[in-house]
């Protein structure tokens, strides 16, 4: 086990970075916000973390924290500007943001190192710290997938107008999702540079968006577990597929296409449906499920009227 761990350390670290990156697109999407700004935050935070370590001699975790907070604020400002956009238009605006980050990285020579990028970012950051950070993220996200918050998130995504009529502050939820996407992207970017010790313009380019979308389309869009499944799959698959050489891209494409067509809710959705089906009793005949929840009084006018009268006073 430890042998496996040591010899695959790079892949394990890449899996965790990919997981956070996938979440950065998935979390806003759960609120119906198609924001790809997480990829831009990845770049911002990666460069910021590298600079803080190299130029300001900051330790890994404080540098990461400052970068994540700063990048999240930038994304939140972007969110306030593009708030009125939705769907594909919002996606385009955020892609523009991502491209701007890439251009700045390439041309900000004295600071960003131009096309060579920044290297030698050596710190004591390790996988254990990474795991702790991601566990905190997962605990927070899992709480937003259940109960009252989970229902409200679903309502904001499925029908914002209905959500508002039920008392949900839709604007606040959507902006929170937008900012959370930025924070998660920034976390991924910071962790990426701390584990790889280098960052250059190709690392913060358009391929980040493709990778993150691929992970959540195949893994699942509704839960953090889907993002994790996608991250594991698409970090390890290329290594497993090296044997087939140039056919690798084709297999990749086929997997994504098949998932998009046959697994609209990703692998996670399939697992969830299977669990639900096995747990559930066969559907009862109408009105025969008195044991279901509380007493099932026959719907006679008198009793229902009595209950209605007492129910609302």
């Amino acid at each position: 086990m430890t042998d496996f761990f040591a010899s695959n350390l790079t892949l394990i670290q890449a899996t965790f970075v990919g997981f956070a990156l996938a979440l950065s697109i998935q979390v806003p999407l759960r609120l119906g916000v198609f924001s790809l700004a997480g990829a831009g935050a990845f770049g911002l935070s990666a460069y910021a973390t590298a600079l803080l370590v190299l130029k300001a001699d900051m330790p890994a975790l404080p540098a990461l924290a400052v970068s994540v907070v700063g990048s999240t604020l930038v994304v939140l400002l972007l969110g306030l500007v593009v708030y009125r956009l939705s769907g594909i238009y919002l996606a385009m605006a955020t892609v523009a943001f991502d491209l701007i980050v890439g251009v700045v990285a390439l041309n900000g020579d004295p600071l960003t190192g131009g096309s060579t990028g920044l290297y030698g970012v050596l710190t004591d950051f390790d996988v254990v710290q990474m795991i702790v950070l991601l566990v905190v993220v997962v605990v927070v996200l899992a709480a937003t997938e259940r109960g009252r918050t989970g229902r409200r998130v679903d309502a904001v995504r499925e029908d914002p107008e209905l959500a508002a009529s039920l008392g949900v502050n839709v604007r606040r939820y959507r902006l929170s999702g937008f900012a959370a996407g930025g924070a998660l992207g920034a976390l991924a970017g910071g962790m990426a540079v701390l584990t790889r010790s280098a960052i250059s313009p190709p690392d913060v380019g358009f391929s980040l968006i493709v990778l993150a979308l691929t992970m959540i389309v195949v893994g699942g869009t509704r839960s953090w577990a889907g993002a994790l499944i996608g991250a594991v799959l698409f970090t390890w698959l290329p290594t497993l597929l090296t044997a087939i050489g140039e056919w690798q891209d084709l297999v990749y494409g086929v997997i994504v296409t098949l998932a998009a067509i046959f697994l609209p809710r990703g692998i996670h959705g399939v697992v969830l449906d299977a669990v639900r089906r096995s747990r559930r009793r066969p559907p009862d005949a109408d009105g025969a499920s008195a044991a279901d929840g509380g007493p099932d009084v026959p719907a006679t006018e008198a009793t229902e009227a009595d209950r209605a009268a007492e129910a609302f006073r």
């Binding site: 009529s165 009862d284 099932d296 209950r307 209605a308």
Partner: protein
């Protein structure tokens, strides 16, 4: 249902509209409509398709921005309130089409209605608005029982009949424990028996103290259910009064009933 017009006029209004207009460019969807609605009554809005009935509900619930006019709840203006504040003020609504969250069960969809936001600045005006978890669960249970959905609470919306889906919508609205309920064509697409059930439910909710505004183009349903009717055509209020008087009004007959009355009755 035995209410006299005088009683309606003297009771203090819960919900009041003063010169409410909603214009889209040159189209006057709702134009200078004033209404006054008292506690414990069922009101109806009739009018042909496109007469502005649904827009009016949208305006009252702040989902549709006002062009002009004022909205008052207990004589306090709320024309500037954002839509999500309305539930906390005690105003709930249903929509013309079924709008349930597909991945949530019947119970969870109704729970969504009870997930009240903390009311903040309006808390003083509506007592009991910091409900405990138990109170919320009880409100959900009652809403489900009242609408006759007990045996369906664990089903997903797609597994329900159309009539049952509509009842879930009503259950969700009353789980918020409103004082005023706005129903946008709750019986559209239902058969006669189901319509009777909804009318009966409305009466029971009314006797439990929930005032209601029913938007409906089935005149028979409005006559059978409401205490007071507003008739609209082309965005304006034509007349109002007791249902049996309103439907005899020649202006209403001309605008609306002439085409539909025999067919629907």
């Amino acid at each position: 249902m035995t209410t006299t017009p005088e009683a309606t006029a003297t009771a203090p209004p819960v919900l009041e509209l003063r010169g409410v207009s909603v214009h889209y460019g040159g189209v006057k969807a709702v134009d200078r409509v004033s209404m006054s609605m008292a506690e414990g009554k069922i009101y109806g809005v009739i009018g042909p398709n496109g007469s502005g009935k649904s827009t009016l509900i949208g305006a009252i619930t702040r989902l549709v921005p006002l062009t002009a006019g004022e909205l008052l709840l207990d004589a306090v203006p709320y024309s500037g309130a954002r839509a999500h504040r309305l539930v906390a003020l005690g105003v709930s609504r249903t929509f013309q089409t079924v709008r349930l969250i597909p991945n949530l069960t019947v119970y969870e969809n109704v729970e969504l209605g009870a997930d009240l936001r903390r009311p903040g600045q309006f808390a003083r005006r509506v007592p009991g608005l910091h409900p405990t978890r138990e109170e919320l669960a009880a409100a959900v249970d009652r809403a489900i029982t009242v609408t006759g959905l007990d045996s369906l609470r664990r089903r997903l919306p797609a597994e329900l009949s159309y009539g049952a889906q509509r009842r879930v919508e009503i259950a969700r609205a009353i789980a918020a424990r409103p004082r005023f309920l706005l129903l946008d064509e709750p019986t559209a697409g239902m058969n006669q028996i189901e319509r009777h059930e909804i009318a009966d439910l409305m009466h029971r909710l009314c006797s439990a103290g929930i005032s209601q505004l029913l938007v409906e183009h089935d005149v028979q349903m409005v006559v059978d259910t409401t205490d007071h009717v507003f008739a609209m055509t082309a965005g304006t209020l034509v007349t109002e009064g007791r249902p049996e008087d309103v439907i005899r009004d020649p202006r209403v007959q001309e605008a609306y009933l002439g085409r539909r009355w025999r067919h629907d009755a």
